[in-house]
Amino acid sequence: MGKYKEEDYKSNVENAWCPGCGNFGILNTVKQTLAELDIGPHQAVICTGIGQAPKLPHYMKVNTFNGLHGREVASAQGIKMANPELEVIVHGGDGGIYGEGGNHFLHAIRRNLNITVVVHDNRIYGLTKGQPSPTSELGLVTGIKPEGVQISPLKPLELAISQECSFVAQAFSANIKENVEILKAAILNEGFSLVNMLQPCITWNKVNTYKWFRDNTFKVDSEHDPYDSRATLELLKDKLPLGIIYKNKKEAYDSKVARARVFCGKEGFNKIAGSFG
C-alpha cells in the first residue's frame, strides 16, 4: 500500500448531487484511483467546467481548477503545459466537453498532452434541468424538445478513434471496482486518454437509467486488442462496450515542451535584443 488512503482526499463541502445520482460512484472511483496510484491531493489537478459532473473536485481534497462550462479541456492543457509534473485529470459533462467544448476536445486529441479526460456521459444537461446533450438519443423527450430529439447523437468514441487518440475507454459509473482499473490505466497512459463514463441522471434522463445501462452494455473481452482499430470499430457496432477499447502508440506532446514557471534570464534576453542591431 502506498502513502495515500481514500480518506486523504476527503472534503467537508456539502454534496449537492441528487441522492442516487451516478456521479457518486465516479467520485469514489477517483479517490480510490488516486490513492492506489499514490498521487497526493497536491500532485493531481482536477480541472472541470460547469455542470453536475464538474462539481466533483469540490467534494474531495485535491488541487482544483473549476473553470468555465465546456472549457475544461482547454484549461487543462494550459495547466499541463505550464507544469508537466502535475497529474492533470478533467471531469466534465457530455454537454460541456462534447457540446460547448467540442472543439477543445477534438484538438486536444491531436495535441496529445499527457492528460486524462473523464466525460460523465449522462446523455443530458443535468444542472440546467434536462435539455438534450450531444449524446442524447434520437427521440428522447425533454422539457425543451417535447417532440423528442431529432438530431443524431454524437459518437464520441468513434470520433476519438478517427483521430487516432492515444487511449480510449468506456465505463459505467456503477462499476467502481472495474472503473478504478480503467482510470488507473488512463492516467498511466502517456498521452491523451479519454474515458467515456456512462452515468445515469436519475432526475432528467428517464430512458438511460441504471437498468438501461446494465442491459445495454457489455464488458470488453480480455482478448480484445485495443491497438487493432478494425476490431475496435467492430466492438462499437451494437451494444456499448465497457473497458479499454482502443490504444495508439504515439509520443505525448508535453514531454517536448519546457517547464514554464521560470523567468527568462538576462543572458537570453540580451542575446535576442542584441540581434536587432
Binding site: 463541502v13 491531493p41 469540490h58 473553470g67 494550459g78 503545459m81 505550464a82 477543445h104 484538438h107 542591431g277
Partner: protein
Amino acid sequence: MELNIRLSGAAGQGIQTANDILGKLATRSGYFCYSFNDAESRIRGGINFNHMRVSTLPVSAPRERVDILIALSSPGLESNLSKLVDNGVLISGVKTETAGKSTFELGSLDITNKKVYGLAAVAVVSSILNIALPDLEKIIKEQFKGKESILDINLDAARQAYSMAQSWTEGAALSLNPPKESLQQGKWLSGGDAFALGAAAGGVSFVAAYPMSPATSIMTNLSHWSKELEVHVEQAESEVTAINMVAGASYAGARALTSTSGGGFALMTEGISLTGMIETPLVVAIAQRPGPATGLPTRTAQGDLRFAIHGGHGFFPRVVLAPKNINDNFTITSEAFDLAEKYQIPVIVLTDQLLQDSKQSLKNFDFDSISQKRYQLSREELEKLDVYQRYRFTDDGVSPLAYPGQSSHPVVVDSDEHDQDGHLTESAEISKKMAEKRHRKLKTILQSCKKPESWNLKPGIPLVLTWGSTWGVVNEVQKRLEKQGIEFAHVNLSWMWPLPADFFRKELEQASKTIIIEHSVGSEFESLMREVTLHDFDHAVRKMDGRPFGVEDIEVELKELL
C-alpha cells in the same frame, strides 16, 4: 532635417525587405529612422507602401510628405505620385513619363531579375545619404545569410545602382548629413518586436494565441525566441481555447500572455471574466485594427478602448494600459506582467496596427530596469500554514498567491462564487464578502495608477488630450506649431483604467479650450473622459478610414481648432 522616402509596390515585390535594410543601414549610420506601412490584406499584388523617415532628430509619427518616391509597380506610382514634393525625386522600377520629376530608372541598370529592384533602390538612397558602399554590402550579407544562392544577384544590383547613383545629381541634391549626437548601437525594430521583448523582460513563460493581424508578430517573435527565453508558445485552435489555456497555465504558475486583435478579444471576454473571478494573473494584448467584425485587417484604429475596459460579464478589477510608442511597447508590456501578478488580475495592453507594424531606431532595452519580482508565497511560507486559503479576506483585497504542486496544500479556484477555500458557495453573506474583496482591489490598484504624461502643461492655454499611439503625431505637431508661435498643452494617457474620479479634471478646467483626439469612428475615449472628469470637451477629432493620422493632417486640423 529629414528625408521622407516612400517605397511603393505590390505585395510580394519585397518592399518590406528593402525598407528594413534601409532602416538598419541608416540607423547604423547615425540617422534616426521611423517607418510605417500601408498594406492590403492580400499576399500578392495590390497597392502597398512603406514610408520611411530618415531624420537627424528622433521621429515617431507618420507623414504624408514624400521626398523620394520609390515605385516598383505602376499602381504604386500612380497612387503616390501626388504626394511627391516639387523638388522630390522618383526612383522607378516601371516605365514612366512623369514630366517634371527627375527620375532614376531602375530599368536602365543591367538587371534581369526585377525582384532585386527594391534593393537597388535602397542602394540609390544610400548613395544619396552618402553611406559608404561597404556598409551597405555588409548589411546585405547579413540579410541574406543562409540564402547564399540569391546573395550575389542582390550584391550585384546594389553595386550597380550605387555606382550609377553616385553621378545622379538631382538625387545627390537631397543629401543629408547624419546628426552629431546619435544613438550608440541603435536598434531597428518594430512595435511587434518591442512588445515581445517587453513580455520577455516581464518574465513571460507561457503564450497561447491564435494568429490575427496585427497581433501575430508577438507570438511569432516569442516562438522564434522560445529556446533563449524559456517560453513555450502554443498556437491554439481558436481564441476561446487560447484564453482558457493561459488561464490554466497561469493557475499552474506560469507568467502567461495571449495576444490578439479586437475580434479575437471578443471571443476571449468570457475567459477574461473567468480570470477576474478566479483572480489569476494574465496579460492580454489587443492589437487594434478597424472594426466592426473583420473590418480592415491590415489598417489601424483605436476603437476597442471601451471594449477592453468593459469586455466580460460582471464586475471585476482589471488594468488597461496603452503604449504611446514603440519604446513603450517594451516598458509598458513588461510592467503589465508585474501588475497582473501583484494584483492577481487581467491586464490588457492596447496596442494597434500602427504601433505594431511601425519600426524605429531605438536605444537598446535595459533588462535590469525591469522588475523581476514574483509575488507567490514561498514553499517555506506555505508549508508553515495549517491551511492555505486561495481567497483569504484581506484588507487590500489581494489574497496570498500559490500554485498547485508548490507545497502540500491543494490550490482550489472556482468560477462560481466561492468561499475563502475556493469552494462554491450559495451563501448570501460569503458572496457579499467575496464580491467586496474583489471590489476592494480596485482601490488598491489605484495606488499604481500613473498621472498622464504631459508636455507644456500650464493653465490658460488650449489642451490637447490623446491616448496611446496618437501621441506620436500630436507630439510632433506640438513642436512644429511652437515654432510657428502656436502653443498648446499636450496630455497623453497610457494608464487607461481604472481611473480615480476627477482624474485630471482640474487641469482640463484650467485650459482655455480642450480638444480630444482619438483614432476611432465612435467616441470611446471622449466618453471615458467625460465619465471620469465630468468635463465637456470643446472639440473632438476622429478618424474613419483606418489610415493613421499624418503629421500634416493634424497640423492643419489643430491650427483650425486652436
